[in-house]
Amino acid sequence: MNKIWLIIKREYLVRVRKRSFIIMTILGPLLMAGIIILPTYLAMQGHDERTIALYEENTFFSSKLEDTDNLHFVKIPFEEVNIIKEDFSASPYYALLDIKDAENFTLYSNQQVSLSVQSEIEGKLSDIIQRQKLELAGIDLQILEGVTTQIEVETIIIGEEGETTGNAEVSFGIGFMCGILIYMFIFMYGTMVMRGVIEEKTSRIVEVIISSVKPFQLMMGKILGVALVGLTQFLLWIILTLILSAFAEVLFFDTLTISTESIAVGKEQSLILSSLSTSLAGINILQLLFSFVFYFLGGYLLYSALFAAVGSAVDAEADTQQFILPITIPLIISFILMQPVMDNPDGVLAYWLSLIPFTSPIIMMVRLPFGVSNAELILSMALLVAGFLATTYLAAKIYRTGILMYGKKASYKELWKWLTY
């Protein structure tokens, strides 16, 4: 037991002292903060205003086309059309809209017109035609406008703790975040374990070490050491992100909220935040946090043992491809199926995927914010523990033989033989 601690300590210290770890730890929150701040910042910057030249023989459309925040329409006479077409870049216009009749519209430009501009113009034109048709059918437009209503359905979850407010969007967001994080963690740190095993093999130190400790101790020490590296990194990311976003709030929003436009954005944000906090009340935070750490570690342990086995079976990282694929397939499948599971979090697909240990770490975390019965959760967790014990047992058998095999690329047949030694 004392020796496994020595191994964990070495694996941990060697990695957290690496320059790449320190850089990633600092860059991670900066990137995350960027992802959070940049869209808000850009939203506050307003849009490019674009001037569209408009040619129409009569004034049917041009009288009804209204300017929007970013589109400004200028009606031009026929003579100007050819001048613009001849030398577009000399004209002050972004594009030229040529309306022949109610069915033929052409947009000229010296560049590919942006999709948003095109769809905005299309929308406006079809709106005008629609209204015209309604008017011709004798429908009063004022009545029509009065008909438009917007309602919001409040969702209440009747659970064991009484009634709580639900919010599908927030559940969706939280589930998605957790799923992605676990997926990333398993991949990043699983390959880190694999590289560590390959390094020990290629540097030929492995036999020196297993003359002092059991191969299983070396493998588990490495897996646990890397797990601690991962937890350290995530913890530092959370702390640094919090500090950074606190700074960013002070730096950006205090100076910018003076403009009326951004006040509106600010209000919107605080609205979102307050709705977020009420909807979070509907989610069992404690259960969510506990489950996250559980599936985070459980999924990692399950897969990293397999990654370690792969590392032991090869001599160089380039040879890992054929063995990595079957390991990553269940991971990638769970990643792809996150969306369908969120659409139907209580469906048959979601149920089974959240029980199978290979997919449950991601899928169960996606389902959890929507509410999962305790019995199901406990069953899934128990199966994950069983799955982790099983993969570790099998991986250890491959590992202890694989690390002593030099110079030849193992085949699946050989791996199978190693399991029986």
Partner: protein, 298 residues
């Protein structure tokens, strides 16, 4: 205290269809240097891994220091594998300390012993260097140090001289002899026969997973005497009684085989009568000859 530090009884190890060790028996006398010989793939490394408890035998027992070998005994064994290396990115001092502690040494004792060996080899200034900055020969010294650092009763070297430069070979050989004087038993595997004759007391020859020859080196050499003498004389047409058979003659260098009931003195007497003797020497088989003969006879 039993006379043998290690006794291997009936060791069998099978990998699938391949029988790596086929009922191997060995006895390693305490305080001796024991050469484990055999061609590549004979099963030497498998046997050494079994002694180090890296792999378990399918059948058979090992007696270490009078008792069945157990897990805790690994702190009494030092092993330098044929495939050996170090963590390249780790510093020398930190790494040797780690490996010493893995053998079960307490921190301070490990540090003290390491400094002793580093001073002895005059490599103390490498302490904070990364292994990748060292040359191959330097790394080999470090590997030797971590093998012996915990002062085990039994040292096992698998091809210790492969890849070493001649200066390091001499240093390591002297250290091995020094350790033997201190009472340590040393097993070492090699197919370099010169080094066997130089330092081994006993040997075992393994081929195809079986021990085909075992015993004290002097006795084995005696057993393999061919009773052939090299004689240089000044006569071209030599004839001898029938118990002496001339095998070859090149430029008056004769190879003469004497029959079992004859002695070398009788041959000398026979020669003295006929010619002048310039040199007379028994052709003693080298370990290499014995090795090749034994493996071929198998």
């Amino acid at each position: 205290m039993s006379e043998s530090i290690l006794i291997a009884k009936d060791i069998v190890k099978q990998y699938g269809d391949y029988l790596a060790l086929d009922h191997v028996n060995l006895e390693i006398p305490r305080g001796s240097i024991f050469g484990l010989l055999g061609p590549n793939g004979a099963g030497k490394t498998t046997l050494m891994r079994i002694i180090n408890q890296i792999i378990a035998p399918d059948y058979g027992t090992l007696i270490f220091d009078g008792k069945p070998l157990k897990r805790a005994d690994i702190s009494q064994i030092g092993y330098l594998p044929e495939e050996r290396g170090l963590y390249k990115k780790m510093k020398v001092g930190e790494q040797t300390l780690y490996l010493a502690k893995l053998k079960g040494m307490p921190h301070n004792e490990a540090l003290e012993k390491l400094k002793f060996w580093f001073k002895k080899f005059d490599i103390l200034h490498w302490w904070n260097k990364k292994v990748e900055e060292l040359s191959k020969g330097m790394a080999q010294k470090i590997q030797f140090v971590v093998t012996v650092i915990h002062e085990p009763k039994l040292l096992i070297f698998d091809e210790p001289f492969s890849g070493f430069d001649p200066i390091n070979v001499a240093i390591i050989r002297d250290e091995i002899l020094e350790l033997k004087k201190g009472g340590t038993t040393i097993i070492f595997s090699t197919h370099r026969m010169e080094s066997v004759e130089e330092i081994c007391d006993n040997i075992a020859l393994i081929n195809n997973g079986k021990t085909i020859l075992e015993g004290a080196i002097e006795k084995i050499k005696n057993d393999f005497r061919s009773n052939i003498f090299s004689v240089k004389i000044n006569t071209e047409n030599l004839t001898l009684p029938e118990q002496f058979q001339i095998i070859s003659n090149t430029d008056n260098n004769y190879q003469i085989q004497i029959s079992e009931n004859a002695t070398s003195n009788q041959l000398l007497n026979a020669l003295i009568e006929k010619c002048e003797i310039i040199s007379f020497q028994e052709k003693i088989p080298t370990m290499e000859d014995i090795f090749i003969k034994a493996v071929k006879d198998e």
